[in-house]
Symmetry: C2
């Protein structure tokens, strides 16, 4: 059986596959910080070269931000598009890393070998699982399994400002029969999963201004308005005592889970205590009448992701600052409208401003929630392939994170997207000491080989 | 008249006095930042040398923090102690300064010549007014006006941790008939003033901790407790809608102003609109049934001086942080007990903590409010001297800032303190572009010469 030969080749050439991933991980492609623009460009170049070595017609495509990588290979059977992103999250606070985040290494841990580096899991390690599956297939068969398009983005961690315009301008070129996305995880770190529900994301940055300059709190304290105090009042008013978001209309478009899905999720026997215990918590915060799984997969949230103002150095400074800042994000579900929520948020802030205060907003990308249609045959084919590789029945699950691309594939290109990934809950993505299990990488490559065999077959 | 000769000498030697002040201003003696410890030491050395050149027996005295400078000169008449501080505030944000804060310069402005530098007004320029008055007196008379002790501190801007132990250990050496302090201002930038009421100060720093590490808000948002959200709830609860502080017992010991003082303050015809307008404000915040002058001089406050947590860089990062920080200070009046208020604050925070959250506090110095006894003859003698120099009737006023030393002189050494200073409202102390008017410096030196003539006479 040729699949067996492909799988054997994957097993035998794992060291070389790992070397290639390490090379990609050494490029600090932090997209949100303009200081790393050249490194994002270098990561795109590296991928173009690697895809060309696989026989793809590959190119780096300029955008107003970081470039896209697009590659095509002809073939028979269905036309599949694979999406991943080569950019990574910032690494601060650097002091909490045990090693240079861009000097990857294979480490022995009690739970097995892990690849340690920023981007190891999100998303360089994951995207390379697909490329390595293609490489093994090509080596064994002399050709790729079917007509393939590869589409790699460099702005996923910074709100994807160029994505929608690029997809619209290149809609014909990017439209396939089905999109494959590798940016998700195993369920409970061991059960293969296909994500069928994704939360949307809306980001807002704000600065509240009061006095025209920093003041001495002895001279002005009690008389002059303090922007930090105003900001804490504004932000403290975003949730009520039960954890519900207070913005008018926030829950418009949020529907209750169908009983069938709720039952299926309950059947997953999610270990809520371990999920929280792994990060030092014992109780779920937020809406008290929901299970944690339901909250993460099907309920909207509002979180303060950053706050700063006044004196933040060592010692004490009795300053009454001229301004105070915050970054706030919303996770969206169902048919929640990001634009309406943005307006409701801004109206809430403006309504709470006392005299002599002003506010300035800066919007960071927004995306609606996504829902995948699992009745297309590829979904069941992939589920069977994943079940075979991992020895556990693969599940349809939700995802608390936002992968807006899945929604764009539906709305802009009219194609379904299938989200399959091999990350684990302790991968520390977006945190110091990010890692990707060697098992995730190895079995991830094998999983894609199996999926391709069934779907392309 | 010898006083006239001393005043003429002050006028004629002003350029040399200015050169000496510039030399002291070039030393970046930021006491709150340990990185500047050597510079604080250098400032103390400079002052010891300058005092020795005036005939004082001067020495630098080690403390667990920055050194004290103590100098003695024998003489007839009353024994006066002069206090000032050679340390300065931090300079961030440096980008808002129009020049290097430690490269002082004399600048022409529409309002006259100013000395521009960190510490020009607070407190190096002010303390040098007294030393220059002594210098001119000595040059003219061949001796100092009376028995003098000089006591200069290097930790005033960082909570004075060594001050009380040092005063207790050296009580005999530091006790005089009257203390003179030069760290205050002219009333409304033109009326000479003696401060008789000072607010106390209590500083608290806190860190709220939740998850054991930074989390991805997609993965955990809505389920894991967010320390920034907890912090905003805690801080937003410190004031009610009318601006009153909500801590139980906070107003214990706060007495209403005697009608006589309230009437005297109203007679000062303070320009509230200009006071606020100068810093871009139109309305007093805080307690709505008080005048701004009453609020600043006689009412307690609670202010948030700094806040930080999560991602504060450019772009967006959907992090759910492990911890969030704040610095909070209280200005105290009457008989408010700083220790009781510290405990009430900590109890308030702890009571608001949800499950799985912890808080760690770090106390920054505390001092009670101070009240001076104006019935000792020196007060009326100084008031007459100041009235003569400035051509306006000198006033007894309150001060919103905290100069704990005044209270310590009373409680530890049993002596009265007289606070006279020449700062102006637009000196930008604790802010970028601090300055001291050349007029403040020049007439300040002349003022001390006149005060010494009357009080020592």
């Amino acid at each position: 059986m040729t699949l067996d030969a492909v799988l054997a080749r994957i097993d035998n050439s794992l060291p070389e596959a790992l070397d290639r991933l390490m090379a990609l991980l050494r490029i600090p492609s932090i997209s949100t910080d303009p200081a790393y623009a050249a490194q994002c460009d270098a990561a795109a170049d590296w991928l173009v070269a690697d895809l060309a070595s696989l026989g793809f017609e590959a190119s780096k495509r300029a955008t107003p931000g970081h470039p896209m990588v697009v590659a095509h290979a002809p073939g028979d059977g269905p036309h599949l598009l694979f999406y991943g992103h080569y950019d990574v999250q910032p690494v601060d606070p650097l002091s909490l890393w045990d090693r240079d985040p861009f000097d990857p290494a294979l480490e022995e841990t009690p739970a097995g070998q892990v690849i340690r580096a920023r981007g190891a899991s999100d998303d360089k390690g994951q995207l390379m699982t697909f490329l390595e599956a293609c490489r093994a297939w090509k080596a064994e068969h002399g050709r790729l399994p079917c007509r393939l398009t590869i589409f790699l983005e460099g702005e996923e961690e910074s709100g994807s400002p160029s994505l929608v315009p690029f997809m619209k301008e290149n809609a014909d070129e990017l439209t396939a029969d089905l999109a494959l996305i590798c940016d998700t995880g195993l369920f409970e770190s061991r059960t293969p999963a296909i994500v069928t529900m994704l939360r949307g994301l809306l980001g807002e940055e704000m600065v509240v201004r009061g006095p025209s300059k920093d003041l001495h709190s002895g001279m002005y304290g009690g008389v002059a308005i303090n922007p930090i105090r105003v900001l804490t009042k504004v932000l403290a008013g975003l949730h009520d005592e039960t954890g519900r978001v207070t913005l008018p209309g926030f829950y418009d478009g949020v529907t209750e889970l169908p009983e069938a899905i709720r039952a299926q999720w309950q059947g997953l026997a999610f270990d809520h205590a371990r999920f929280l215990g792994d990060v030092g918590l014992s109780q779920p915060a937020g809406e008290q009448d929901r299970t944690p799984l339901e909250m993460i997969w099907s309920r909207p949230t509002c979180e303060i992701n950053g706050i700063w103002g006044g004196y933040t150095g060592e010692g004490f400074k009795t300053v009454l600052p001229a301004e105070a800042h915050a970054k706030v994000s919303f996770r969206l579900v169902g048919d929640q409208d990001p634009n309406a929520i943005r307006e409701a948020f801004r109206a809430h802030v403006r309504a709470k401003l006392p005299p002599d205060c002003s506010v300035e907003f800066h919007g960071h990308g927004n995306s609606r929630a996504g829902h995948m249609r699992t009745d297309s045959p590829a979904f069941e084919q992939a589920r069977a392939a994943l079940t075979e590789e991992w020895g556990r029945s693969a599940a349809y699950v939700g995802c608390g994170g936002s992968i807006p691309i899945a929604g764009y594939f539906q709305t802009i290109l009219g194609m379904d997207a299938m989200l399959v990934g091999f990350g684990k809950d302790d991968d520390q993505i977006h945190s110091p000491n990010e890692k990707y299990d060697l098992e995730s990488f190895h079995k991830g490559i094998r999983s894609w080989a199996r999926v391709l065999a069934r779907v392309a077959g």
